[in-house]
Symmetry: D3
Subunit: 128 residues, 6 copies
């Protein structure tokens, strides 16, 4: 639940300080399940996402250092969440089994009709 | 899509400037349909709601004169939309037939899991 | 999934022959559960609703005798389904236990944002 | 996410041990907002609901002492959650302000099409 | 909200004149965001979609010249909306930035359980 | 609506016998529509899915021979439904036209926030 404003005529009234609720969905992909029959440990994944979001939630993003000079659009934020989750996966926060994940899709729903996703490959163990 | 902040320890991190997307549903009630077989002219109702919301949308509610010193919670805003729609109904903005409406419920969804409603009787023609 | 047209300027382009998908929800009410711990036998209720809808589905309602000279609006059809279900309840089609139902609400969703309901009391055994 | 079985021919194959996911919604009502502009402290309400559900979640309800000889239907469980939340409200677990709540509705969704609710008045401070 | 009928035994009762509500979702894809941080100007995209749909809405598709001799199934209509949106993108109706879009997916929901999509690549500037 | 238990510390309280409701969505893909303008005969597809699910529904999966020694996680079951539907497609249960389907995605929703999919290519006629 963040506040922000946008720069650029294309944004019309959204150039004013306003806000949004984002509901965040994650979609993890892998070709084969792990030995427990899982794609990912949903408990560890939820904890990691909660950590990522707690750095952004209940803030005015116009004042967050990382985003200075940046339009924090829904699609930009989807990429940001993707990058921060990818790092946590690479650092083992989602468990050893999660290193076999091959792709991640992050979706931010800003209302019941508007959303944006970022989707990309994850570095595999073999790449590491 | 508004920005605002709350005063009171109960709000925790929501005391900071943050924001929310509200999806607004209206539920109109009447005992009998009008001569066209309708509860309300959905075109006129949508226009009236759009007018009401355009006064609130893309704003920092902390700076709106009507709300000074007020926590603009979801439940407070539901009541506010109810009052503004009731006035428009009483003034004939939803058509003559809409004067036979007996009740209105306004729901603001702030996410897929959290929402607040205000519901109440509408003054009938006989009251006027 | 019906076709129909409306008469009256208020309907604008919907005066032309067009169509709609209706998703129908039923809400049964009673003060106490029956001896099985149920509000209603959901199997019998589904069968009765399927019968009611099969008389209406895949039709041009402009050509259905029961509706001649009638705008078959969503709100009108909600009442129609209510009446037909009430009859089936009174005739025992939903089982003996269903005679203790006190109210029914019928909702027709015509899209993810527009719907109409009819809700009313059901005659109780004591009334019969 | 519970397992259970039902007794009674009306349940057909659900007489076998099977299971269900329930998504639980609470709707709190009061005539006037509290001094913070709230219906209820959503944080305290969520904690209380989590406590209530943790006694039921990931269990075979056929083996829970409180439910022996009882069909744990969706509608029965809605009442059970209502009773347990009412007690917590009466005992002040949702804060002093929550004593002004006048009604509660508990809905258990068992799928995207089937649900059951229990709704009733809450004892007010004046009753206590 | 269209009326239509189908030819072919596979359609059963849908061979009769009937109707449907379609809720239309568009999903635009591009590898990099534009200089405003956007995938697409959602205002221009909504206007273009509204134009495309206004040619189809509130009609009996059996009488639309473009569709003579054609079963206007949900999946056929998804392709039709895709083609008409692609043309508008190519003609610059969604802005210069939209020429960098690489793919489009069009989904028509005909109820809460049934839908069809058409998805394909968009010609890029380099192709033009 | 199944009961089951899981083996492995990662499952925490889900190691106890519990249960779940799964709502199953199928997504069929093909490059060109068939001569009726369809991706698949939705009637035949629904019948085939109902058959597949009737072997699993209202059961304790811990006691199903096919799954002995297997954690019947949501993602495992998605694959299982995929395999059983693929066989029916290959055997012509969805009609001759369905042999031109190129891919299938099976999604099991276990709540409004958690789901798992399995998606893969289908053998084409040319492969057969």
């Amino acid at each position: 639940m963040i506040a922000h404003s946008f720069r650029g005529q294309v944004f019309g009234p959204a150039q004013r300080l306003h806000g949004a609720t984002y509901v965040v969905d994650l979609e993890f992909r892998r070709p084969e399940l792990d030995s427990d029959g899982l794609v990912v440990d949903i408990g560890l994944a939820s904890t990691a996402l909660a950590e990522v979001l707690s750095d952004l939630n209940y803030r005015n993003l116009d004042e967050v250092d990382d985003f200075l000079g940046q339009n924090t659009t829904t699609e930009f934020l989807a990429r940001e969440v993707f990058d921060r989750m990818s790092q946590r996966i690479a650092h083992g926060h989602l468990g050893e089994s999660a290193r076999a994940l091959t792709a991640l899709r992050v979706t931010l729903h800003e209302s019941h009709v508007a959303w944006a996703s970022y989707e990309g490959a994850l570095p595999t163990s073999a790449d590491g």
